[in-house]
Every structure is written in structure tokens, then in C-alpha cells.
Assembly symmetry: C2
Homo-oligomer: 308 residues x 2
């Protein structure tokens, strides 16, 4: 399979993309990344999921922390606090370079796609990283504390407010970024990373042109479940499913992706009783690089089986 497309969000997705990047030939892989979490903070344009993927693929990610850069320092934040600046969102000194340069490039008329491609080239990342769209899409959560922007919910409020519904402001009008539709239509397989389906994958699916490409492509579409033993490795997936009144199970995930996916990779000890899709099992916890390669290989094997 020459062209593999992976739809991805934050940390969990980036782990799978890294695994795929290590077993596929260079340039076989296109990652289409959620930008619903993007926001402006202190005048800077921040793209958390793109950054996580860039850092992960460049070997700069802070694995222990789960976000940001390895070996990061925090002198900026210390000075910012002293000045009374908003400090609910942590900006590392090295991380800031990416935000400042991106913001500056965007104000000069470059697109998010171009900025992302430039950084990836600078860091010798062969995987093609495409934002889902160059148009602004904002994930908003209606909660018992009112409507919240994603980062306010996720970082500032630590997913505490109870979520009633999620919307993707701007998605209806958003156009897939250059290359996104072509990549999906010419793909040999499309993989949905084990990112949060509701917060990280749904924003992509909410863009009409992107969704339409997924329904048109002849490529099999397989998902890697974000659940292991009924829990998510990281993030608010379980909390969200509960808030939204779902049973926390692989079946709920499969049902959420119904009509879209042909198969799903789940953890060895788990079940997914859904007649319409093919399910394969492997240990899906991704800690080491070997883990990431294993899960990536399982997803590719499942997709290959769907094609034959």
C-alpha cells in the first residue's frame, strides 16, 4: 500500500502516526490533523495538535509530560506571571518559538498548511502533515458552566464542566486544506487514530468536503479504538461519553463511526460485538516505539485485509 492517510488529533494519535511513519516507506504517509483546538492566546496562534505531531515526529516531544517539548524551560511563564499575564495555558520557552513564528507567518499571509509544511521540512519530517483546513474551525462545548472554547474546557477547567453537546464553529463553511481531499481519494487505506472521537476526529468529519471525500474514497477506513479496558489512556474520552449518555464501550465508538469505518483495531483483552465491521485485536497501549509500530502494523494489516 503506497498511500496511507491517517486522521489524527493529539497525543494518542501522534503515537500511532509515529508508529506508521517508522514502518511505511518515506512519504507514503499523510497525516490530516485536527485544528478545532487551535486558538489565539496572548495574540499568538496556537495549534496544539499540529504541534504535538510535529514534536513527536521530530523527536522533540516531552513523552513524560504528554505535551510540549522535551527539556523545556519556563522563564517566559515566570516573567509573564510576574507581569500579571494570563497564565492558565503553559507556554514553554522553546515552544514559544513555534507559536511566534507561526503567528507572524500567518499575519504575513501564509496559510497554516504552508507554515506547517515549512516547520516539517526544517525538522526533516518526511510524513506529510496537513491541517484539516486552513479556515478557522473552533470546537466549542456547551456545558453546565455555559459554552466554553476547547482549551478553556480542556486546560483551564480540566474537563470538569459537564458537557451537554459539542459543536464545531466554522466547520460548515470550512474547505479542506490543499491536498486533503486528494490524499483521501487516492489513499490505499485511511486510518482513524485512537484520538478522542468526539473532540479530535469529529471536527474533521464536520467539514463537508472532508467527510464527502471519506464517503467517496475506495480505500478501506479503519479505526483504532481509544479505549483499553473501558478506559482511555489519556484525556476526557470516558468522561465525555458518560456526560453524553453513552455506554463506555468499543461498540459505542464503532456506532459513532457507523457508515464510515470498515474495521476497528481494539485491545487484546477487549470486545467489540458489531456485525457490520471487521474487528482485530492487539495490545493497543503504546508506550515504547515497538508498541507504536505494533499498533500501526495491526491497523495496516486490517486495512489490507479489507482491500483483499
Amino acid at each position: 500500500m503506497k498511500n496511507i492517510v491517517v486522521l489524527t488529533g493529539g497525543v494518542g494519535g501522534a503515537k500511532l502516526v509515529l508508529g506508521l511513519a517508522r514502518i511505511l516507506p518515506e512519504e507514503a504517509l499523510t497525516a490530516i490533523v485536527n485544528t478545532g483546538d487551535d486558538f489565539r492566546h496572548l495574540g499568538l496562534h496556537i495549534s496544539p495538535d499540529i504541534d504535538t505531531l510535529l514534536y513527536t515526529l521530530a523527536g522533540k516531544a516531552n513523552a513524560a509530560q504528554g505535551w510540549g517539548r522535551e527539556g523545556e524551560s519556563w522563564a517566559f511563564m515566570a516573567a509573564l506571571r510576574e507581569l500579571g499575564g494570563a497564565n492558565w495555558f503553559a507556554l514553554g520557552d522553546g515552544d514559544l518559538a513555534l507559536h511566534v513564528l507561526r503567528s507572524y507567518s500567518l499575519t504575513r499571509g501564509e496559510t497554516l498548511s504552508q507554515v506547517t509544511a515549512n516547520v516539517a521540512a526544517r525538522w526533516d519530517i518526511a510524513t506529510r502533515i496537513l491541517p484539516m483546513s486552513d479556515d478557522p474551525v473552533a470546537t466549542l462545548l456547551d456545558t453546565d458552566s455555559g459554552r466554553l472554547e476547547f482549551q478553556r474546557y480542556f486546560v483551564e477547567r480540566r474537563c470538569d464542566p459537564r458537557v451537554q453537546s459539542i459543536l464545531f464553529d466554522g466547520a460548515e463553511a470550512a474547505v479542506p486544506a490543499p491536498g486533503v481531499t486528494d490524499a483521501i481519494l487516492s489513499a490505499d487505506a485511511v486510518i482513524l487514530a485512537p484520538s478522542n472521537p468526539f473532540l479530535s476526529i469529529d471536527p474533521l468529519l464536520a467539514i463537508p468536503g472532508l467527510r464527502s471525500a471519506l464517503t467517496q474514497t475506495s480505500a478501506p477506513i479503519v479505526a483504532v479504538s481509544p479505549l483499553i479496558g473501558g478506559k482511555a489512556v489519556k484525556g476526557p474520552t470516558v468522561r465525555l461519553m458518560t456526560d453524553l449518555g453513552m455506554v463506555v464501550s468499543n461498540e459505542s465508538i464503532a456506532r459513532h463511526y457507523a457508515g464510515l469505518i470498515d474495521g476497528m483495531v481494539i485491545d487484546s483483552d477487549d470486545q467489540c460485538d458489531m456485525p457490520d465491521i471487521v474487528v482485530i485485536k492487539c495490545p493497543t497501549l503504546m508506550t515504547t516505539l515497538a508498541d507504536k509500530r505494533r499498533v500501526a502494523q495491526a491497523a495496516l494489516d486490517l486495512a489490507a485485509r479489507m482491500r483483499s
Copy 2:
């Protein structure tokens, strides 16, 4: 004397302002600061002379380096270089907090005066720090390498191009910042700090409303010469005077300020043979705090003598 106004630029000026702040009653001192060096870099609004004064009065200045913050770190610059960002202007990690916050506040509609006052309040600085204007004024140098913005000349080109003339773009239309005119008109003394006359003080004098207040005020106006033994402590004063065809002497400085100043403080071992102004001498090299107080006191004494 209750109201003292000092017109100032960068490092040398900040030293005198610190000396004045330590010997005058709190809130007796208003510093009016050059903003001709202000520029946008990577989308950030940077006000070098205001920053130098803020850092100096807050006890945060890096005395050895002559600019920026004490104990500064450089992780941002390292990451920026790695990304291929413009790195000719050094932005420390802590320093960045001031630039990011100022830029953000300005885009939200605050004025440079307001931003500066907020930082000063945050850092318990009693001296009133006023930008010369909230309107943009850009110091430009016509050189044998073409027209250069101040920071390009000063930092990037290290004052190497030969200067033919200096202009202050926007000065004609600029209005003195709130409080500037009143401070000068109600001053008991106005002091021109030993900053570069051509690059740091002239921008202020190029603003019609500010110049007019200086000609109207009944306060004596005294300058502290930036020359010691025919040399400047720091910066391109001598180089500039030579480029512009002037003899490097206190007389040239006094002549440059002719019609404006009533007196001048020069170094103990120097001369200034100008019949129209009163000259007093003291050791003007400001290394220790005692030095700064001594030079500040000399300027105040000279002004007091002019009043009597």
C-alpha cells in the same frame, strides 16, 4: 524642586534616571522616553528604550550586558534558530513576556502609555514613565548602505554603515503622549539625559508639540553630556558625530542643543567653552549607584542654580 522631567533614551539615560529616582521624593520624577527605536519584530512590538528603563528602575536590568534582563535565558532563541527564524535581534525568554504582553495589549486597543504604566505599576516603579508619543515614530538612517531602520543599523549592522542623515518618520504628525506636555510645562527642571543626542534625544525634539512645550516651559533645561574625554561610554555617538562631520566635543553637543538648554554637566576632566550656557563639572562616568546619584545631583544642582 517638586517636578523634575528627564528626557531619555537607552542605557546611559536609564542610569541617570535611576540616580534621580533615588535622590528625589517618590513621584517627583517623570521620564519621557524615546520610542523612535521601537519596531515590530516577528510580529511583536518592541520598545527597547522603555524596556531598558523599566528593567533598570525595577532592578531587573542586566548591567554587565548593557541591555535586557539579569539572569536571562535563551531557549526561545535556540528554538527560533532551529526553525530558521530571524535571529539578528536577541529576545531573551523573560524579556519575551514583556514583548508578547505589550503586543497583545496594543492589538486590544490599549495605548503604549497605558501598557507602560501597567508594567511600571506591576513592578512598583514610582517614577512616571511616559513614551514620547503613542503615535508611531521611526528613526531612519540614510547611510552608504541605503536607508536603514534604527535596529537594523544599530543591532544587525552594528553601526557599521556610514550615516549621512537621520530622520524621524512620523514625528511631524505625532502628538506627545498624555501627560508629556503638562509635565514639561509644570516642571521645575528639565534634564536631557546623557543619551545619544542624535538618535535618542532628537526623536523627542522632532515632535512639534513636545518641542514647543520645551520652548514654552519656564523651567531651566540642562543636559548631561554623553561624552567623557571625547568618547561615549557606550553606543555610536562618536561614530555618528564623525560621520555627520562634527568635531567630537562638548561644544558640538552644546551647539546641537543651542536655544534649548541653559546649562550642561560635563565630566571633571573635560572642557566646554560655550558662553551662552552654564557649565558645571563632575565625574560623569556612572558605574555604581553612588555614581548615578552624584551625576543626578549635579544636574539638579545646575538646574537649581539656573532657577535662582
